[in-house]
Symmetry: none
Subunit: 399 residues, 2 copies
């Protein structure tokens, strides 16, 4: 599809807003009940739905539950089965670490080693974040010739290592043996280009274990998810769009940055995010606005809290519409039903509004209306071509 | 899909009619309004819809607006992203030039050259068709050893050249530099098999410019879209169908001919086209009937004229039904909303009627009903397998 959009893209003064409510889709808690979106009072979205075309976005393929990475890549128009973001790179992205082209990112776990150097606890007794944060600072003392080493704390027993230097491939096997009673594995290269990475990682482990030797719980470490910076073509390249991201959390800023979006503003609330949208309106063609709380409340299994967050989102819709965007899309990267307390595979209710969108029979913005809307069920990766078409930014294919 | 249909096709006495209303799909002109198809009084199609299965045909991929070539290839069951008709071949097809297997078709433009041989106007002052037609006749005086040269006028500054001879590849770069103040480019082969084509084209330009030398506006020419005859498997091969095309305009006759349909009749109106259908009924298995005016009125932005054309089409439906076709499909190659004054990406309302089609909830033939019909949204290339199945012409896959 990117070959198509790249060859057909054309200039336009149109403005596009993609409002992403993370984990938007839901489920009824009881048979015969309503979903979170059906329960919420959403007069603005319902009214907009009657002038829009709706559909159900399938994040990856039917039945496949995505993480945040593939969920957003799909929405951004990048086939999530083709473009894979390695675990280390995603973890680094999630804490706001901006990966460079010569970086290899790795997820680290503290573990407990016994006197024989065998793992007795793979998670170092689930050490608290308060206890583990200073350890990451200590690991920064590792020195490896020709390599810059970054260590950043994550939650509890987790941390991130980034190795920066020439000639580092991203294909190294995990050192976590996934069991106890055995020592951590040696870092082993998965291809010739990653031999140096494996050597550097082994040296990091050697020095790191020395630095941690006196710790009671976290006296060892394992490394997982080695990955280079993913190579994604940019929004400018494939769509001809100057794109801006208005997000609160590092993960979503990072994902947007990977596709060439510019991170704008320092908003902490959805109201502040819309304020940034207003002030940056003239500077970009495309705005990605990320709203986290429909996901986190769903993950908590807190149905009514998710309902209230949806209503909070509904309240800002008029402010967006008053900017008169050429195309406004409201969607999510995946569903997070409170019923499941986690991400799910269900199609995501999606609304596309433009002057030329050809409205359907939809009477409101709900999962049930969306999945029989005029866009039907579609794989998320097709949303961007539809958006570009509605924005007058794609020429004709063939004569 | 062709491997599948080729291996599963089976004989049957069934008769299939595919009625293609070019550019059928539309949009409301105002928010909350009706489309052209919803506005039109179509009692016959509405009644048929209640006994049929409906769907929305996506010509290429979501968001992609096709030209007539890819639009029809999709309907004919040929993946329009796999089978590409070169610009020259399509232009030749559009004026009714029947390409042979050793032909290379080229789009020509007259241009204005200054005293230094540099292009001062890429379109020769948009010379009128009346002025340019005799120039095409003059260019037929070009003589090249071993090559047959055809030159046909098109509209205004455009013409078509067909080079016929052995060993002519279709990969030659355009000679139009896409700018003024520089001379036309030399024809340059894109592959080894096209070196001879480039030499022949250079000789055509040399002699052609001499023949045009005394013209004031059109004293030069550029060549674009070099293309050999596209290689498409035939309807007989992939579907086992003896297929006939009943079309008024050369473009659609040409596209049908490319997939092995026989052009029948000399109808000029839809009533005459149905007359041809009646008289040829016994001679073919499959009939493609092309109705142009739903597209041309849409291109004109003339909503009410398109409405009347749809009603004109509706009026012939009983005559088709009285022939008792096994399968009747009513669809379009793409949408042409009057609102957009051009082709669009919107799904095309599609109706499939047969005794075994399993009807859906549709209450009439409209875009809104179709896109939530029993066929759902589907890529146009899947229509022919559905048609064959409904015609009893496809065996079981696997045991």
């Amino acid at each position: 599809m990117h070959d198509l959009t790249r060859s057909l893209k054309q200039h336009s003064d149109s403005k596009i807003v993609m409002l992403v409510a993370d984990g938007l889709g839901g489920c009824p808690m009881e048979p015969g009940g309503l979903t979170e979106l059906e329960t919420a009072q959403t007069p603005n979205l319902d009214s907009l739905a009657r002038r829009s075309v709706l559909g159900g976005s399938i994040p990856v393929k039917p039945g496949i539950t995505p993480g945040s990475g593939p969920g957003h890549l799909g929405l951004f128009g990048y086939d999530p089965l083709e473009y894979i973001i390695g675990r280390g790179a995603l973890e680094a992205t999630g804490i706001g670490f901006e990966l460079g082209p010569h970086d290899v990112a790795i997820r680290g776990n503290y573990c407990t080693l016994d006197a024989q150097g065998k793992i007795s606890d793979r998670r170092a007794g689930r050490i608290s974040s308060e206890e583990s944060a200073p350890l990451a600072v200590r690991l920064r003392e590792v020195r490896i010739e020709g390599i810059e080493v970054f260590v950043e704390p994550v939650k509890e027993h987790r941390f991130v290592v980034v190795l920066r230097g020439p000639g580092l491939g991203g294909q190294v096997h995990d050192t976590d043996p996934q069991t106890t009673g055995v020592p951590p594995l040696e870092p082993k290269a998965g291809d010739a280009a990653s031999r140096r990475t494996a050597e550097v990682a082994a040296e990091f482990v050697r020095q790191g274990c020395k630095l941690l030797a006196d710790e009671k719980k976290a006296n060892g470490l394992t490394l997982r998810g080695f990955s280079a910076k993913p190579k994604l073509p940019t929004y400018d390249d494939v769509y001809g769009l100057r794109a801006a991201a208005i997000a609160v959390y590092p993960m979503y800023k990072g994902l947007a940055r990977l596709v060439g979006m510019t991170i704008v503003g320092k908003a902490q609330t959805i109201d502040e995010q819309i304020g940034v949208l207003e002030s940056e309106w003239k500077n970009y063609d495309f705005f990605f606005i990320h709203f986290k709380y429909t996901d986190s409340t769903g993950e908590d299994g807190n149905f009514m809290a998710k309902v209230r967050r949806i209503e909070e989102l509904d309240a800002v819709v008029p402010r967006i519409l008053s900017l008169d965007p050429t195309v406004l899309v409201v969607t999510g990267d995946h569903s997070t039903p409170s019923l499941l307390r986690g991400h799910s595979w269900h199609p995501v209710p999606t609304l596309l509004h433009s002057r030329v969108c050809r409205p359907d029979h939809s009477s409101g913005f709900t999962e049930r209306e969306a999945t029989r809307g005029g866009l039907g069920l579609f794989e998320a990766k097709y949303l961007m071509p539809l958006v570009l078409a509605n924005a007058g930014r794609l020429g004709k294919f063939g004569a």
